[in-house]
Amino acid sequence: MKIFYYCYGSAHSSVIAAAIHVGYLPKDRIPKDEEFLKIPYFDKTDNYEIGTPFLMGKDEYGNEVYIIGMTNEREMIKKTIISFLKESGIDLNQIHMVDTLHLVNLKTKIGGLLSRRFKLVNVGRPLTIRGIQEKYFDFVNLVMKVKRRMSEN
């Protein structure tokens, strides 16, 4: 099974969910600032990389976990991916796609905009981290739901 966490730019919310999923981040406490900075792809993806899926790692069941950015056209691009897989004869049970953007709060949105769009990393990055820390257990809950679903299958 391949799990894709997707958001706007694959720099924040999808990265956090995937990092929790593969065990880079804890499930029982809010990580410190420096722990976020160690995660691959966190607040790093550039505009020209949006759409490219990146492998974050494997989970304990051997599922591959990816992140992907799809801007505000997430449902449309998701449809493209699904119809492409159908046309390629791939079993759709091999893929699970999870939208994470709804977990992003205003602080992360503004921080992400400053850091990624305006390249004001020093101002934007701490703000994105603050926002994620505030919503951290919502991310954990989402990942736990996904994992439960995976184990049921």
Binding site: K2, E49, I50, G51, T52, P53, L55, E64, Y66, I68, G69, M70, T71, E73, E75, M76, I77, K78, K79, T80, I81, S83, F84, L85, E87, S88, I90, Q94
Partner: protein, 149 residues
């Protein structure tokens, strides 16, 4: 192998490009274009969905796709997905036709697809396609002649 012609709506430039590819259309011909399967179809609910058009002489499967302005994103996503699922990085030739949109095709598509002024909208779209037809034809011929990988 798949060749995907993508434009904003998946019912105008992409359909014309696919028709040139398949030899259905050689030169600009308004009547012929209007009669092509899929031309001017209301594809609002099908945005993002690959629509199979036909198979070419080299057995490549030709698709049309409406992805608004997100052709580059869809292209990266499909190339990545193709590698991940072991379909080979050469499985897809994605042709983003958004650069062939002009003010006429944009306005015409909007009138026809969003406001349901099909007749007026299509007239404008055809003016826009006529203006870029030779460029489009050159691009499609390059794609058609591209050796199989």
């Amino acid at each position: 192998m798949k060749v995907i012609y993508a434009d904003y709506w998946g019912s105008y430039i992409s359909v014309v490009a696919a028709s040139i590819h398949l030899g259905i259309l050689e030169e600009y011909d308004e009547e012929k274009i209007r009669s092509i399967k899929g031309f001017g179809e209301n594809n609002f609910s099908k945005l993002g969905e690959l629509i199979f058009f036909a198979e070419d002489q080299k057995s490549r499967r030709i698709y049309i796709l409406g992805v608004k302005k997100s052709g580059r994103i869809a292209e990266r996503a499909l190339n990545g997905i193709s590698k991940i699922f072991g379909l080979g990085k050469n499985d897809v030739d994605f042709v983003d036709l958004y650069i062939y949109e002009n003010v006429f095709t944009k306005m015409g598509g909007f009138l026809s697809q969003k406001l349901c002024f099909k007749s007026a909208g299509e007239k404008l779209v055809l003016i826009g396609i006529k203006r870029n037809f030779n460029k489009l034809k050159n691009l499609v011929h390059k794609m058609k002649e591209k050796p199989l990988k």
